[in-house]
C-alpha cells in the first residue's frame, strides 16, 4: 500500500444480542482489520449477511440498536471515532466520511425537495448563507452529471428516475467533499446500463477521496477496485489486489464466488453454484465458517483459521490454493 492512510479498522467486533433471548451475543462483524489509503478504492465483497454493511455502518457510527461495537478500533484521519459520542459523530458524518446507500427510492426523504436535502447538508457543515448553499448544491448536481440542475433542485425524489435518484444520492454524499466515501451496493437497485454509468461516475468523481465499495457482485468490484476484501460470516477470509483476487483466488469461497459469476465466456461449461448456504450469523460456528460448504475440508478446519500472508495476499484458510491454480 502507498500513500497516506485515511481510514483504518483494527480487529473490529460488532455484536448483537441473539434473537432467541438467551442473553448471548453474536458478532455481525468478527475481528475485521483493514486500512484505506488516500485515493484508493477498496471493494468489500460478500453475500447477504456476511457483515459487510454492518462494517460500513460502524465506520459511520451508525450501527443500529441494539448492536454495538464491542472491541477493536476505527481510526479516521488519525482520530479514533469508535468511541465518539453522537454529537461528535454528527460533526464527522458527511464532512469527514460520507455514505451512498443502496436503494435511492427509500433512502431519499419523499417529502423533501432535492435542493432542500442538499442545502441542509451543506449548511450543516459550513457557515454559509442560503444563496451560497444553493450555488454549491447546483454545483454538486452538475458534478454528478444531472441535466438541468436548476429544475432538479426543486424536484421531489419521486419525480426522478432511479438513475437520477442515485446520482442525487451520490451528490448528497459528496457535497461536503469528505475524504472517505462508503458506497453500499450503489448500483444493485438499478438497471444494468445505468449501473455502468453510476460506476463510471463514482470512479471519475473520486480521484482524491478514498472509496469503500460494498457489493455482492464481483463484476462490479472488478470494475472499480484497487484492492478487494472478501467477507464471510463477519470475517475477512481473503484480501489482496483486485487483480490477484480475481485471477488467482486462494480461498475456496472466493473461487466459488468467481465460478458463480455469469459471464460471456462460452467456453466455460456452466455456472457453478456454491453448495449449501452461509451459516446464520446468529448461530455460533467452531473453526472455519466455510467448512460445511468446502470441498477442501479436513479435520484441521475445525480450528478457526487466521488471516495470514499467502502468495502476495491475505487468506484465512488452512488449504489455500497454490500459485498455479486457476479458478474453474
Amino acid at each position: 500500500m502507498s500513500g497516506e492512510e485515511v481510514l483504518s479498522v483494527d480487529d473490529l467486533r460488532v455484536s448483537f444480542p441473539a434473537r432467541n433471548g438467551s442473553g448471548a451475543n453474536f458478532n455481525a462483524v468478527d475481528g475485521v482489520s483493514l486500512s484505506l489509503a488516500r485515493g484508493e478504492t477498496l471493494g468489500i465483497v460478500g453475500e447477504s449477511g456476511s457483515g459487510k454493511t454492518m462494517l460500513a455502518l460502524s465506520a459511520m457510527g451508525l450501527v443500529p440498536k441494539p448492536g454495538r461495537i464491542t472491541s477493536g478500533s476505527i481510526t479516521l484521519r488519525n482520530r479514533r471515532i469508535d468511541d465518539l459520542g453522537e454529537r461528535d459523530l454528527c460533526d464527522l458524518r458527511g464532512r469527514e466520511i460520507g455514505m451512498v446507500f443502496q436503494d435511492p427510492m427509500t433512502s431519499l426523504n419523499p417529502v423533501r425537495r432535492v435542493g432542500a436535502l442538499l442545502v441542509e447538508a451543506i449548511r450543516r457543515h459550513n457557515k454559509v448563507g442560503k444563496d451560497e448553499a444553493r450555488c454549491r448544491a447546483l454545483d454538486a448536481l452538475r458534478a454528478v452529471g444531472i441535466p438541468s440542475p436548476e429544475a432538479r433542485l426543486r424536484a421531489y425524489p419521486h419525480e426522478l428516475s432511479g438513475g437520477l435518484r442515485q446520482r442525487v444520492m451520490i451528490a448528497l454524499a459528496l457535497v461536503n467533499h469528505p475524504p472517505v466515501i462508503i458506497a453500499d451496493e450503489p448500483t444493485t437497485a438499478l438497471d444494468t446500463t445505468i449501473q455502468a454509468q453510476i460506476l463510471g461516475l463514482l470512479r471519475e468523481r473520486l480521484s482524491d477521496a478514498a472509496l469503500i465499495l460494498i457489493t455482492h457482485d464481483l463484476g462490479v468490484a472488478a470494475e472499480l477496485c484497487d484492492r478487494i476484501a472478501v467477507m464471510y460470516y463477519g470475517r475477512i477470509v481473503e484480501a489482496g489486489s483486485a487483480e490477484s483476487i480475481l485471477s488467482r483466488p486462494r480461498h475456496p469461497y472466493t473461487a466459488g464466488l468467481l465460478a458463480a459469476v455469469p459471464n460471456f465466456d462460452f467456453g466455460r461449461p456452466t455456472l457453478v453454484p456454491i453448495p449449501g448456504a452461509p451459516p446464520d450469523p446468529s448461530t455460533p460456528v467452531n473453526g472455519c465458517a466455510f467448512q460445511e460448504r468446502c470441498q477442501r475440508r479436513t479435520p484441521i478446519c475445525a480450528t478457526k483459521p487466521l488471516l495470514r500472508e499467502h502468495t502476495g495476499g491475505l487468506v484465512a484458510c488452512a488449504h489455500p490454493a497454490e500459485e498455479e491454480t486457476i479458478h474453474a
Binding site: R93, T106, N109, V111, R112, R113, E120
Partner: protein, 310 residues
C-alpha cells in the same frame, strides 16, 4: 397543483347524491316521528286547530306531493319557519354557523399546538421511561369524555381560580375554556397518531441517509421524520371534523355557546322540525366541504399526490 375538470365534476356529483340522501332521510325521519301537526298544536289543541295546521303546512297532502314540494323548497333554501318563533329556519341556522366554525377552528388550532410537539416528543424515543409515562397519560386522557374535561376545567379555572368566565361568547376570554374542552376530544388521539407515525418514520431509510449527511437529533425529528408523520395526522384531523361538530354540540351546551350544536339540541327537545332539518343539512354540507378541503390539503402536503387532480 394541476386542475382536473373531470375530478371537479365528479366531486360535485358526489355532493349532489350525498345531499339528496341526507334531505330524503330527514324528510322520512319527520314522518316516522308521528304527526307533525300534533306536535305543533300541542296537547291542548282542538281537532279544528289540528285540521287547520295540517292544511296550512300541507300535511294532508299525499306523501309524494309533500316530498316533491319539500325538495323544491329546499332548492331555494326554504326549510319553512321555526315552530318555536315563526322565523325562517334556514336563517336561524345560518346565524349559528359562525360561532360553531369559530369554536371548531380554534379547537383544531389548539389540538395541533398540543398534539404535534407532544406527539413528536413521545414518538422520537418511544422507549425512554419519561416518554412511556407520557404515553400512558395521553392514553388515559383519551378515555376521559370531553364533557367531563369541560366540567373539570370550569370547576378549576372558573369556579376555584376565577381566571376565566365559564359561559358566554363575548370576548377572547370566553373562548378559551370551550376551545380547550373541544380540543380535549381530539388532542389525545392525534397525539398518539403523531407519536406512532414519528416512531415509524424514524426507522425509515431516509432517516439513515439524513444521519449520514450529519443531521443531528433535532433536525432528524423536525425536518425529516415529522413532515412524513404529519401526512397521516392530516387525514385524521379531516376525518374527525364531523366528530368535532358532534363534540361541539356537548361543548356548546356546557358553555352556553350560541352555535349550531346548542340550537340543534334545543330544536330536538321541542321537535322543531324545520330547524332540525336545516341544521342537519348545514352540518352535512360543512362536513362535506371540510372533507374536500382535507383531500386538497393532503395533496398539497404530500408531493407524491400533487400530480393528480383533486
Amino acid at each position: 397543483m394541476s386542475f382536473d375538470a373531470r375530478a371537479v365534476v365528479r366531486r360535485i356529483g358526489v355532493l349532489a347524491v350525498f345531499l339528496l340522501s341526507v334531505v330524503t332521510l330527514l324528510f322520512f325521519l319527520l314522518q316516522l316521528t308521528g304527526d307533525p301537526a300534533e306536535v305543533m298544536v300541542g296537547d291542548s289543541g282542538t281537532p279544528e286547530q289540528l285540521e287547520q295546521v295540517r292544511k296550512q303546512y300541507g300535511f294532508d297532502r299525499p306523501l309524494a306531493e309533500q316530498y316533491v314540494r319539500y325538495l323544491v323548497n329546499l332548492a331555494q333554501f326554504d326549510f319553512g319557519v321555526s315552530f318555536a318563533n315563526d322565523q325562517p329556519a334556514f336563517s336561524l341556522v345560518m346565524d349559528r354557523v359562525g360561532p360553531t366554525l369559530l369554536l371548531t377552528f380554534l379547537s383544531i388550532i389548539a389540538t395541533l399546538a398540543i398534539a404535534v410537539p407532544l406527539g413528536a416528543w413521545l414518538g422520537a424515543r418511544p422507549d425512554a421511561p419519561e416518554r412511556i409515562a407520557g404515553g400512558i397519560a395521553v392514553y388515559i386522557a383519551q378515555g376521559v369524555p370531553g364533557f367531563v374535561a369541560g366540567l373539570l376545567m370550569i370547576q378549576l379555572f372558573a369556579v376555584h381560580l376565577r381566571w376565566l368566565p365559564s359561559i358566554g361568547h363575548e370576548g377572547v376570554a370566553t373562548w378559551i375554556l370551550p376551545t380547550l374542552t373541544l380540543a380535549s376530544f381530539l388532542a389525545p388521539k392525534l397525539t398518539r397518531v403523531v407519536a406512532a407515525n414519528v416512531t415509524e418514520a424514524m426507522r425509515e431509510d431516509y432517516i439513515r441517509t439524513a444521519r449520514a449527511s450529519g443531521a443531528g437529533p433535532s433536525g432528524l425529528l423536525w425536518r425529516h421524520a415529522l413532515p412524513n408523520a404529519l401526512l397521516g395526522a392530516t387525514a385524521l384531523v379531516g376525518a374527525q371534523f364531523a366528530f368535532l361538530i358532534s363534540g361541539a354540540v356537548i361543548t356548546e351546551v356546557i358553555f352556553a355557546w350560541p352555535g349550531l350544536g346548542w340550537l340543534l339540541v334545543k330544536a330536538t327537545t321541542t321537535l322543531d322540525f324545520p330547524v332540525i332539518q336545516a341544521a342537519v343539512f348545514v352540518i352535512a354540507v360543512l362536513v362535506f366541504a371540510v372533507n374536500t378541503l382535507t383531500d386538497v390539503l393532503f395533496r398539497f402536503i404530500d408531493p407524491r399526490l400533487r400530480t393528480k387532480g383533486i
